[in-house]
Structure formats: structure tokens, C-alpha cells
């Protein structure tokens, strides 16, 4: 009798351990509330899509993804990171959307010996002198987005431009990135507030300054508001606009509709990329969530795939050296196509021009129009001693 119950207990324990107990926990600190909440929502859903494709695993290793909302507040992000590190004993992190939150969270995690694979934020502070062996950015270095927009503006022949961006780290990265490859005359630089949604004062200034074209960086809801007000002011038909993808991505194009048509935008990814990995991703995302993916979803999906490749290499160990060796091989197909790591562990990749086009169904979507930059690295990589 007693023997039998021991056997039973043994069987129960065996059954429990057989039921895929997560080997690796991933702390996903992202922005789910505030008007920019859909950015984090898409990143979360893209990341979880990659996990569910493998039935709860990444690279054959069972993972558990714990998602928390940083509310776009650096202090909240830092607090979540501390909780993840101390009470949940998490070592691997992803999810970061906004650079100001990333700037507070990154040092906290790295000092505690954690590993970060950012699916979006790539502030300049950690790309150069302060690069770190345990810090990877799977999306882009912030400046890259806007360098590609600058290169496109130069290609389109605009001589005098006016630039606008929010007054925070990524906004400053945007302006300096744009200027780096643009090279023409800058009429004026205008900094807006990070929570601003009425741009009438700025648009009036643009009207008075009469530039050849305008470049602006306003992600999420801010970008939607800007483009709507731009169309309402009547300036849209007089002054061309060049932006990078955060200011006109797949979701924004769908929401603002006609107001997006005619605006030149640049990106490292688009829904219409014809490579196999991307086709599978777009179809899988639509099937699972019943909506179109944005760049944020694709980046997080790619980040999950890169983490998967690294975990496969280490067999599930989070030993920093082994993880880094496997990660840097980047032995995986990504939705954006060609990809390699730069020495500062930021991407080296192609950048494309996208155009907003009205489809037969009356919906506006983005179509890839051509390559702007080939296997482009960032300007801070040379200061990184890795």
C-alpha cells in the first residue's frame, strides 16, 4: 500500500516536470498604457507570436514571458526591472519601447548582471563608449532611422529643410541622425513636448518659414495628430514631408488615411517584404490577432527569433559568454531580410523608401519603393571597444 502511493507520488512529480517547466524566464518591460500603448502592445504580441509558434519555446528552450507596463515613465520601468531582478530572479530582458525609459532601465539591469535584447529603443547613450557585452539592440540604433530619412531627403533634392522632434533623447537622436546624412541647409529646428498633441503653433511657424520640405519625428498617437493637423492646415499640398517609419508606420497610415499620401518615409522593414520569414510572420500575425502587424511587432518578433538562436546555441543556459557567442552568430532568418550585428551589438542592415498608397478597398497602406541605404551601420560603433 505504502509502496504504491510512493510510486504514485513519483509518477506525479515526473508528470509535473514533463509539463514543460519554463527553463528561461524573460522579463518584458514595455509601454502598454498612455496614447503610445499600441506600440508596446504590438511588440508584446509580435514577441509572443514567435514563442507560440514553437509551442512555448524559443530555440527549443521552454520560456516564460512576464509582461509589465512601464507607462512610459522611466521611474516605473526601473522599479519593474528591480522587481524582476530581485523577486523573480529574471536575467533576460526585452520589451523596451521608449528611449527615456530604456535609459533608466538599462543600467539597472546591466549592473545586476542581466542581459537585454531591445526590440525597439536604441538610444545613442549605449551605442558608443558605453556599449556593453550584455546589451543588444535588435531593431536599430535610433539615429539610423533618421539617417535613412536624411539620405532620402538628399536624394529627393530638398535644399532647405525644417526639422521637428520631441524634446527627449530619441528626439535629439532623430535630429542629429537626420542631419548626418542630409547635408543641406537647416532653416530651423523645433523641439516639441513629449506629450504634446496639438501642433498648431508649430505648423504656423512652418508656414512662415517656407522650407523646401519638412522632416518630423513623432511616434504613435503624436504622429497621427501631427499628420491630421498637417493635412487640415492645407500645407500638405505645398510643402513635402520626409519622415522615418516611427512617424508613419503601418498603423498610422491606416488611421490617418489620405493624410499620409504623398509623404516619403523610410524603414528597415515593411509588411510587403517578400522573404519567407516575413511572409510567415505577417500571415501568422494576422491569423492570431486579426489585424495588420506594425514595425514594432516585426522588430519584437525578430528579437524573439534572435533570442531563440542564442538559446539554441547555449542549450538554454544564460551564461553571458556562451549566450554572446551564440547571439553574435545571428544564425536565423529575420523578417527584415539581411542582418548582421555591428561591433557595438546594434544592427547593420538595409534601409528602404516606403510610399503610402491607396488600395482598391480605399484603405491606405505602405508599399516598398526602393533601397535608400545598404548594410548601414551606426555612427557610434567606432567608439565602442567591444
Amino acid at each position: 500500500m505504502r509502496f504504491k502511493s510512493v510510486l504514485l507520488a513519483g509518477a506525479a512529480v515526473a508528470a509535473l516536470s514533463g509539463a514543460a517547466v519554463a527553463q528561461v524566464k524573460i522579463g518584458f518591460i514595455t509601454t502598454l498604457s498612455t496614447p503610445a500603448g499600441y506600440l508596446g502592445e504590438d511588440a508584446r504580441d509580435g514577441f509572443l507570436l514567435a514563442v507560440s509558434e514553437e509551442g512555448g519555446k524559443l530555440g527549443g528552450v521552454a520560456v516564460e514571458v512576464i509582461v509589465e507596463d512601464d507607462k512610459l515613465k522611466p521611474a516605473d520601468g526601473k522599479q519593474i526591472a528591480e522587481k524582476f531582478l530581485q523577486s523573480d530572479k529574471i536575467k533576460l530582458f526585452s520589451g523596451l519601447i521608449f528611449s527615456n525609459v530604456a535609459a533608466a532601465v538599462t543600467p539597472t539591469i546591466l549592473e545586476a548582471g542581466g542581459i537585454i535584447v531591445s526590440p525597439n529603443a536604441g538610444p545613442s547613450n549605449f551605442a558608443g563608449k558605453n556599449c556593453n557585452a550584455n546589451y543588444y539592440v535588435a531593431s536599430w540604433q535610433n539615429d539610423n532611422l533618421h539617417e535613412s530619412a536624411g539620405a532620402l531627403a538628399k536624394k529627393l533634392g530638398y535644399k532647405k529643410m525644417l526639422l521637428l522632434a520631441p524634446n527627449y533623447q530619441a528626439g535629439k537622436d532623430a535630429i542629429s541622425g537626420f542631419k548626418r546624412l542630409y547635408g543641406g541647409e537647416i532653416v530651423e529646428e523645433i523641439y516639441t513636448a513629449l506629450d504634446q498633441t496639438d501642433f498648431s503653433a508649430e505648423i504656423a511657424k512652418i508656414r512662415a518659414a517656407k522650407p523646401d520640405a519638412v522632416f518630423q519625428f513623432h511616434p504613435g498617437g503624436q504622429g497621427i495628430a501631427f499628420l491630421k493637423q498637417w493635412a487640415q492646415s492645407g500645407l500638405k499640398d505645398q510643402v513635402p514631408m520626409v519622415v522615418a517609419s516611427p512617424s508613419l508606420e503601418q498603423k498610422i497610415a491606416g488611421v490617418v488615411g489620405d493624410a499620409a499620401i504623398g509623404i516619403a518615409t523610410t524603414s528597415h522593414w515593411n509588411t510587403d517584404f517578400a522573404n519567407e520569414a516575413n511572409k510567415a510572420f505577417v500571415a501568422g500575425f494576422k491569423a492570431k490577432y486579426n489585424r495588420e502587424p506594425t514595425m514594432y511587432a516585426s522588430q519584437a518578433y525578430d528579437a524573439a527569433k534572435l533570442i531563440g538562436a542564442a538559446l539554441k546555441g547555449t542549450g538554454g543556459s544564460l551564461d553571458e559568454k556562451a549566450f554572446r557567442t551564440a547571439m553574435l552568430k545571428a544564425d536565423v532568418k529575420l523578417t527584415r531580410g539581411a542582418f548582421k550585428w555591428g561591433n557595438n551589438q546594434h544592427p547593420v542592415q538595409d534601409w528602404y523608401e516606403l510610399k503610402a498608397v491607396k488600395g482598391a478597398d480605399g484603405k491606405v497602406s505602405l508599399h516598398t519603393a526602393g533601397k535608400v541605404l545598404e548594410m548601414h551601420a551606426d555612427a557610434y560603433a567606432r567608439d565602442c571597444k567591444l
Binding site: 500603448g37 502592445e41 523645433i190 495628430a225 487640415q232
Partner: protein, 304 residues
């Protein structure tokens, strides 16, 4: 000069929108003694109601009653379920409860509609721009918002100064006990005032929808500015809310427009624009502090 005129118009438009929000907030705070942090949520409910109905029916005009009704009903529900229980309590309880309501409404909106912002088009009749001052093309829709806001302000002013309801509201803000003693059902008066405030907030939300984006959290962005307005104007005074809204709207817009000129004389262009952005974001708080130094109870204090 044309730039200045256009910026003044922009400031007026922002001010009038702020007034619609501030009127309700100042009445509930001044008369009922209730701090309602969820006032921004009513603004959001108005915008969502209008945007959803406008998207379903394809008509902006049908969205207007939908937004007003949605905000009004949400307001009455809040008053009935939450606020009514807190009249006698300390402000801290009201802050806690209405902060909870903010979370509730934001959660509800993202659960029911999703986190992605909603599209709301300007109606065809009001799209484009008019050049009623030569050389200053101005979006027709913004002009319409201004006119509607002014009309509502005038109607509200007349109601408060000329009607029986207005008399009760004024009396309720200064001599609450006396009004009740004269046999007026003060609870019903409060419900009416709260509902009115909710409808005004909904109106502001639905009018702003086609200009900004309709999304979760849109109420909190404007709520802080609205509180600045009622503090500057004098809590409880609709006239004060109007003056405060115009002052704050104008300061904010003109600050953003012309602050860079202040700094350009001494700093390089990019440093100046960064400094100007920082300066203009604190400008309204500086103005508030200045007003409070000179007039500690606001521009138009209620009840001497």
C-alpha cells in the same frame, strides 16, 4: 505679423477648448466641493462615442449626439455610483476614487475598442481652410470649434446669470446650507451640475477628436492643463474659467511659438530650440504661480 495673427487664433482655439473642460470641472469643484480627476475620462468617453458612431455610420454629424449622450450618461453613472457617496468625505477620498475611475475608463476603452487610436475625419463641409484674414489661411474646422465654444460659453454665461437654475448654482456655491434650507433638492442640483459638466467635457472631446487622435489616455494629457485653468481663474467661477482658459491657452501657444526667439540671441540655434521647448512647457505653471502671488484665490474668486 501674419504669423502672430495665426498664433493668436491658435491660442484662442486652445483656450476655448480648455474652457469647455474647465467649466464643468470648476462647477463640480466649486459648488459640490468634489475633486473629479475622472473629468478627463468624460472627455475621452465623448470622443470615443462620437468616433465610433461616426465610423459606423460614416457621418460626423451623427457622432455629435452620440458623443454628448455617451459623456452625459457616463457622467450621471459616475455621480450616482461613486461621487454621491463621497460628498461628505475628505478630498483625499475623492481623489482616490476618481483616480480609480481614470484607470477603470482607460482599461474599459482598451478592452472594448483596443489600444490603437481611432480615426475620426473632419466632416466634408468643414475640411479645408478659410482665409478670413488675408494671408492667414486657417483650418475651417478649428474655426468652427472656436465658434461653437464661444456660443456655448455665452449660453452658459446667460444660464448662470439669468436663469433660476443659474441662481441656484450661484447660491449653492456660496451658501449651500441656506439653499437646502429653502427647500431646494440639493442632491438633484448636484446631479444636474455634474451631468452638465460631463456633457461639456464630452463636447470638448468630440470636437477635438478630428484634430488630435482619439485614444486611451487622451483625457489625462489635457486634465492637468484644465486644473491650471481653474486655479488661475478662481475655483467655482465660470467667468474665471473662461478668462483662465484664454490666458493659459494663449500663453501655451505663444510660448511655444515665440520662446525660441528669446533664446536665439544668446545661444546657438539647436541649444536655443531645446531650451525654448523646456521653457514653454513650464510657462503655464509660471503664469499660474504669478497669478497666485498677486491674487491668491485666482482671477475671479467666488464668494469674496
Amino acid at each position: 505679423m501674419q504669423l502672430l495673427i495665426e498664433q493668436v487664433l491658435n491660442g484662442l482655439q486652445l483656450g476655448i477648448t480648455l474652457f469647455l473642460l474647465a467649466a464643468g470641472l470648476t462647477l463640480t469643484f466649486g459648488i459640490m466641493g468634489v475633486i473629479n480627476l475622472a473629468h478627463g475620462s468624460l472627455y475621452m468617453v465623448g470622443a470615443y462615442g462620437a468616433a465610433l458612431v461616426a465610423a459606423k455610420t460614416g457621418s460626423f454629424w451623427l457622432g455629435i449626439p452620440a458623443g454628448l449622450i455617451a459623456a452625459g450618461l457616463a457622467g450621471l453613472a459616475i455621480e450616482f455610483q461613486v461621487i454621491r457617496k463621497l460628498y461628505e468625505r475628505d478630498h483625499l477620498y475623492q481623489v482616490l476614487a476618481t483616480f480609480g475611475l481614470i484607470l477603470f475608463f482607460n482599461g474599459m476603452a482598451s478592452w472594448l475598442v483596443g489600444r490603437a487610436p481611432l480615426m475620426m475625419d473632419t466632416p466634408a463641409a468643414l475640411s479645408g481652410f478659410v482665409e478670413f484674414i488675408p494671408g492667414v489661411p486657417y483650418p475651417t474646422y478649428r474655426l468652427a470649434v472656436m465658434l461653437v465654444g464661444l456660443a456655448v460659453a455665452a449660453a452658459l454665461g446667460l444660464t448662470i446669470s439669468r436663469t433660476r437654475l443659474g441662481m441656484l448654482i450661484r447660491a449653492g456655491s456660496t451658501h449651500r446650507g441656506m439653499v437646502a434650507a429653502l427647500g431646494v433638492d440639493i442632491v438633484r442640483l448636484y446631479t444636474v451640475v455634474f451631468g452638465l459638466g460631463a456633457v461639456l467635457a464630452g463636447l470638448a472631446g468630440l470636437m477635438i477628436g478630428p484634430i488630435r487622435s482619439v485614444q486611451v489616455g487622451m483625457g489625462e494629457q489635457i486634465l492637468i492643463m484644465t486644473f491650471v485653468v481653474i486655479v488661475v481663474g478662481g475655483i467655482g467661477s465660470v467667468r474665471g474659467a473662461f478668462a483662465g482658459a484664454l490666458l493659459i491657452g494663449m500663453c501655451d501657444t505663444l510660448g511655444r511659438a515665440f520662446a525660441p526667439l528669446l533664446f536665439k540671441a544668446t545661444f546657438s540655434a539647436s541649444v536655443a530650440s531645446g531650451l525654448a521647448a523646456t521653457f514653454s512647457s513650464v510657462l503655464i505653471y509660471l503664469v499660474m504661480a504669478l497669478v497666485l502671488v498677486v491674487r491668491p484665490r485666482g482671477l475671479f474668486p467666488v464668494g469674496g
